[in-house]
Subunit: 448 residues, 2 copies
């Protein structure tokens, strides 16, 4: 330490979160829980590379549509040799474009319906701002089938996400709600009113949770809609229903010739019926839900904190009639939902609601009090590990317990294991939580 | 499907591997096994962002030294606004540089000895070639302490990796060996011979497993060593020993005044002693092991397939006297070892030795044979899931079993669950492996 070194003082990189071990431990518990739930419904896992060819991304709009283009990160070798003719690569900004590309590329090797989950980082080069990440995790489930896909899956998606969201540790006091619609309803209705540019209208309806109806009315007048049309559209859009019965009751006064709208109401009713077992308020039909993306063609989902809807949707998705049409000449309908993991986790973290799981995964810290005990310590650790326990051995013989105890305390290791010696005739265990010290045997912890 | 679409046919990206679901399932099992083993020794997990500031990477040579520089990938927003003054970011090419930066940055919040494992993707823009990946997983464990770090950990690292490598499913027939040295031995000895540029010499000794001694002799003559010096160095370097006793016996005829060399032999003996419980041949002291990296200062490891040493090391590491010295004005010695996961996994995959775990994580496929049974199917699935089983419900009522059976067969779902109906008075289970069909009860699968 005598010579003067040049120090490069590291600093956090805005938008690229990094946790301390104790926080990462909870994050792992969340991922484990999510994975277990996805798998309990028979979803298999895939991972795709972090990059896609830029041309493949451009072939597909993906989540966020035109806006995302600006946010794409390209990667490049720092020292390219001249004459490199490699395709340009970009970090993926969602898991839907990679899924579409994957399904097309491996079409002949997949079993349909293809039910997959994917938990990976995605990247978006947004301007840095609070609560916005440039690198973050998404947890996606999607089902894709050839030619047609049963509506059963449209109901399974939000049911799985509800199960997860209502049971993640730290979410106990959060009130969340999944809002579901079917785009056929609003689009069929608008079309039946003789309006040609449907997307122009739905873009404003989509903002009903953030803007007042009066302001949206003004915008719709500006793009040339008549007042009657606007009134009719707003009446439909503002319908919310807790059950299929309520949905049918509230939509029945609205007369329309649209077959598409009728189909949408039937589909949404079916989905609501399938979700009837969830607690009241968990799921609501909300006809203002559009989701900005062009490729959704039926069911759409979003999920909000009911006491803070402005936080935005933490779990969204929907059905697309033809997912991979840009990559393969097959008709592949799909339905999927994506949990914005990092935003949700960071919210609970910021509210200091994450559980304390300690730093170390170890349950036991075994201490050799002299050199002669080291072999016994190693053997005891080995036996306990074989029985599935997580065990640290203190890294040197130490006859004063002060330092190892302080270490166990700080790392959250519950039990200190002391080996037999001349005075102590049996193994003993010190419980750091109960503040007890009692004789024990290895068998006690290894018997089935 | 009538209108003609423009198709962008996707293709694999060289160096960025992607697996089918059945292969990914084994990869997950490997990761689970590795994580469980790391945690059973009390290592906590961290993840760092995929990127580091380019300046932070340049401050530290890291794994691979000068060569790596060329392989660094930088990332950039596709459409940067003018005037962006953000720091340049690069994808990390190992987990050692991020660990050093992390430890310095969070120094005050960490508990030492800091034992962490890290399982993440890293990126290297190498020229594409067989068996070389540009995006791949590494599994690292490191221990870092303040001021001094007990030698105990130098032995723990290879013991943990041996436990993993000898028990990963698919590795049953692989013969692997961990080769250990201590750089103090060779460096102290070379220094005591009056040679100034030690690194020039060790660079060639490091190639003893790939080149003949005769060729290395020629190279050492070229850089100005005398024949006697070369003979002496080669005699030492070619020493291999299965135990500390053998190591001491074989090095004792070599006389040297070097205190550093003596220290190295003592340290290596201690480590070999601590590993004496491993099967014969699992670990060998091999004084030719140098590892190319400047920052190793003591123990060094590499791991080879004994029947194919040219495949190169799949698990390497060592001790560094001062890990994070470029980032913080503290003395932080560490020892670590890194498993080249993707290269190992791909080798076993290519040899077709991976176990077949099926595609789906589901154990049961429940079939409703008519609409009336759908509620029963959902409820049965729910109850089985609550008991920890993974269950798919077939996505529609289906009175012919042909399609669901074919699906279960292809996806590797073992049990088909049939619900009671007018004819069948109890639940029944069809075992796709045993080819049996027998009555069952929900209780049978849910009791503890």
């Amino acid at each position: 330490m005598s010579k003067k070194k040049k120090i490069y003082k590291p600093r956090p990189i805005s938008g690229f979160p990094e946790w301390l071990p104790e926080t990462r431990r909870v994050e792992q518990a969340w991922f484990d829980h999510i994975r277990k739930t996805f798998e309990s419904y028979g979803f298999c896992n895939i991972e795709t590379p972090s990059v896609e060819e830029l041309d493949a991304i451009n072939a597909k709009g993906g989540d966020g549509g035109a806006d995302v283009d600006k946010e794409v990160y390209v990667i490049e070798r720092l020292h390219k040799e001249d004459g490199d003719k490699e395709a340009r690569l970009a970090l993926h900004f969602d898991q839907t474009v990679p899924l579409a590309r994957y399904t097309a590329q491996h079409f002949n090797d997949l079993v349909f319906p293809f039910k997959r989950y994917q938990i990976q980082r995605v990247w978006r080069g947004e301007r840095p701002q609070a609560g916005r990440f440039r690198e973050f995790y998404q947890c996606d489930i999607d089902v894709i089938n050839v030619d047609s896909l049963p509506l059963h899956f449209d109901a399974e998606m939000p049911a799985i996400m509800w199960e997860i969201l209502s049971s993640l540790p730290g979410m106990e006091n959060e009130k969340i709600q999944i809002r579901i619609s079917n785009r056929k309803i609003l689009m069929g209705y608008i079309e039946s009113l003789g309006i040609e540019d449907i997307t122009q209208v739905t873009r404003w309806i989509d903002k009903l949770d953030k803007m007042s109806s009066a302001d949206i009315e003004k915008e719709l007048l500006k793009i040339g809609l008549e007042q009657t049309q606007i009134n009719q559209i707003l009446i439909l859009s503002l319908i919310k229903a807790k059950s299929s019965e309520e949905l049918i009751e509230r939509t029945s006064p609205i007369t329309s010739e649209s077959k598409l709208m009728k189909e949408g109401i039937e589909e949404l009713s079916f989905v609501m019926d399938q979700l009837a077992h969830l607690p009241e308020g968990a799921v609501v039909a909300d006809l203002s839900i559009v989701r900005g993306l062009d490729y959704y063609t039926g069911t759409v989902y979003e999920t909000v904190f009911t006491d803070d809807p402005n936080y935005g949707s933490i779990c969204s998705g929907g059905r697309y009639d033809d997912l991979a049409g840009n990559y393969i000449n097959k008709h592949l309908p799909g339905v999927g939902i994506s949990l914005g993991f990092s935003r949700l986790f960071d919210r609970i973290r910021t509210k200091e609601n994450l559980p304390n799981l300690g730093i170390s995964p170890a349950k036991f810290l075994i201490i050799a009090e002299n050199e002669d005990q080291i072999k016994d310590a190693t053997q005891t650790a080995h036996t306990l590990r074989q029985a599935g326990h997580s065990v640290e051995t203190w890294h040197r013989a130490e006859n004063k317990l002060k330092r190892p105890l302080a270490y166990a305390e700080k790392k959250g290791i519950r039990y200190i294991w002391l080996l037999p010696n001349d005075v102590r005739k049996t193994h003993e265990i010190k419980d750091m939580v109960e503040r007890t010290q009692e004789p024990t045997t290895i068998e006690e912890w290894t018997k089935k």
